[in-house]
């Protein structure tokens, strides 16, 4: 892959990551799921680094198919509606690597930090960690085939409503 093509790939990957962060910070879960490939095997996992390092499979969120991604939207917008005190998030990412897996599929690794504001408290860090993504680029648009959010803290600071 020549340098120009690589830059174009990176730009599309970064654009995808921005769309992902914007969707979550806006609590727009339809926009969130739109960042995933329209395939039955599209997946999202959020897991602690402790479990990951020890080979323990328990995750905080485990959406291992597109139907589960859709069900997560149902959790947040219907099942939990009116039962929790809401909070606001700001996601920040830094792409660390982007390597071609095969054809139009790329393995992308990014650091992330999520700040959160939970009234009436000052803004704090909700989680930091690494996104390990498999990104597929079709035409002009990149989408996640799979996204794994591996969070560093062993103990989360509070209950979690939205995906990382």
């Amino acid at each position: 892959m020549n340098a120009m093509a690589q830059l174009e790939i990176q730009a599309r990957v970064d654009n995808l990551q921005n769309r992902y962060m914007l969707a979550l910070d806006n609590k727009d879960l339809q926009a969130w799921i739109a960042t995933f490939a329209d395939r039955d095997d599209a997946s999202y996992t959020c897991i602690s680094a402790e479990n990951e390092a020890n080979g323990w499979p328990i995750a905080l969120m485990l959406d291992d198919c597109r139907a589960r991604l859709q069900d997560r939207i149902t959790f947040v917008t219907q099942i939990w509606k009116g039962t929790f005190q809401d909070y606001r998030t700001r996601h920040f990412t830094q792409r660390m690597s982007c390597e071609q897996e095969s054809g139009n599929t790329f393995r992308v690794r990014s650091n992330f930090v999520i700040d959160y504001s939970f009234d009436p408290h000052p803004t704090k860090v909700l989680a930091a960690g690494v996104y390990e993504d498999l990104v597929v680029i079709e035409g002009e648009e990149a989408r996640f085939l799979s996204k794994r959010a591996v969070y560093d803290t062993t103990v989360l600071p509070q209950y979690i409503v939205y995906p990382f």
């Binding site: 328990i58 969120m61 139907a67 409503v161």
Partner: protein, 397 residues
């Protein structure tokens, strides 16, 4: 250990058995006294399951109140619980949440302990005091008991009789973690909640059909069941939750399949005094270890298990359910966590919190209740009040 800064004699307990003074949720002096009386007292506390440290040399660290613990399996497979502090100057010996070691080394003066707690080496011991002997300076070991692989520990040298203390709880544990072939550990979800430990433990059955929209949307109204409690403050529920209707809510209803119903079709909750809980809902086997961090902060380690003889498909089912239905982001439990913080904030107001559902007599304990009554909590509160020494209004001694 901390000495209570303020005597608590000014707290007078209401005479009506269903009233709980809100001060007990917020006062720092009461929190300190609870640590001494309950957590460092003559009672038993679940701290690990043997399957969390399955290999020789495996260890896990945990806190009993503020006391650091080191739970280790030695080279011969024996599991012991130690105080995680060097016998020399008290330095914390192990800092990792878990791992595997042949020995534990204190970095301060390089004292090295075997994974059975024995002191192996200590540089410069020729010059140590006359009272030093290597045999006497191993890691401080605590008394333990084990039931279905769950390890209970006590700080006391003369604790209450374990079998008497456990009582009725053992029957429910049999249905939850009593698999003959044992358990396989699947991982943790760990979180802190902004509430007192008793707010967390008070999370009773009464609210379930009201708070949990998920129960209604999924058609999970409770079936027949029995709620129980004991004189030592343990309480639980044995019930037949009827899952699986889905009602068209989920696109992937396989998440709520109940695949191991042939082993036991029930749904079980076993809440130990003071506040470790075991649950088995559908295919989820879950022990919730808990640590009181501060008057308004409680840490919970949700530990999940499969049966050791599960096939890979069954194990995957347990992982999928546990990773989506329970815990700090669980479809049917996240709302509980959200309520904890709000109860804690409200507890700074004067007066009492009160139990209502199922309370028939304001002045006597009742051990008969329905599945969704909140009476079972009252047994625990009465045990708590008694051992904490809080006198009722008008009570002389």
């Amino acid at each position: 250990m901390n000495i209570p800064a303020v005597e608590v004699a000014d707290l007078v307990w209401p005479t009506d058995i269903n009233d709980i003074p809100k001060q007990v949720f917020v006062r720092p002096d009461i929190f300190e006294r609870e640590l001494e009386t309950i957590f460092y007292g003559p009672y038993w506390h679940p701290v690990a399951h043997v399957s969390e440290i399955p290999e020789n040399g495996d260890f896990k660290t945990f806190d009993l109140g503020r006391v650091p613990l080191l739970i280790a399996r030695d080279d011969d497979g024996a599991v012991r619980v130690f105080i995680n502090a060097c016998a020399h100057r008290g330095n914390q010996v192990e800092t990792a949440p878990c791992g595997n070691r042949k020995h534990f080394e204190c970095p301060y003066h390089r004292w090295i302990y075997a994974n059975n707690g024995d002191l192996k080496t200590c540089p410069g011991s020729d010059d140590f005091s006359p009272k030093f002997s290597q045999e006497a300076y191993g890691l401080k070991q605590l008394k333990t008991e084990e039931v279905f692989g769950l390890i209970f520990v006590t700080m006391s040298d003369s604790p209450v009789d374990f079998d008497t203390w456990l009582g009725r709880a053992r029957d429910t544990m049999q249905h939850q973690i009593g698999n003959a072939a044992g358990l396989k550990f699947l991982g943790y979800q760990k979180v802190q909640y902004a509430c007192n430990w008793k707010v967390y433990q008070d999370n009773d059955g009464y609210h379930a059909p009201l708070l949990h929209t998920g129960f209604r949307l999924l058609g999970w109204q409770g079936g027949g069941g029995e709620q129980w409690s004991t004189e030592y403050g343990h309480a639980g529920v044995d019930s037949q939750l009827k899952p699986g209707k889905n009602a068209g809510v989920l696109k992937d209803p396989s998440l709520i399949d109940f695949r191991d119903a042939t082993w036991d079709s029930g749904s079980y909750v076993c809440g130990f005094f003071p506040f470790v809980i075991i649950t088995k809902h559908m295919d989820i086997i879950n022990v919730r270890y808990a640590i009181p961090r501060a008057p308004d902060r409680t840490e919970v380690h949700y530990a999940y298990f499969a049966k050791a003889d599960d096939d890979s498909e069954m194990e995957r089912q347990r992982v999928r359910q546990a990773s989506n239905l329970t815990g700090p982001c669980g479809m049917i439990s996240m709302e509980d966590a959200a309520i904890f913080a709000r109860v804690q904030i409200g507890s700074h107001s004067p007066g009492v919190a009160t139990f209502q559902k199922g309370v028939k007599d304001l002045h006597s304990l009742d051990f008969e209740f329905k599945q969704n009554d909140e009476v079972a909590n009252i047994q625990r509160w009465e045990f708590y009040r008694t051992i904490m020494g809080f006198k009722k209004e008008g009570q002389q001694s």
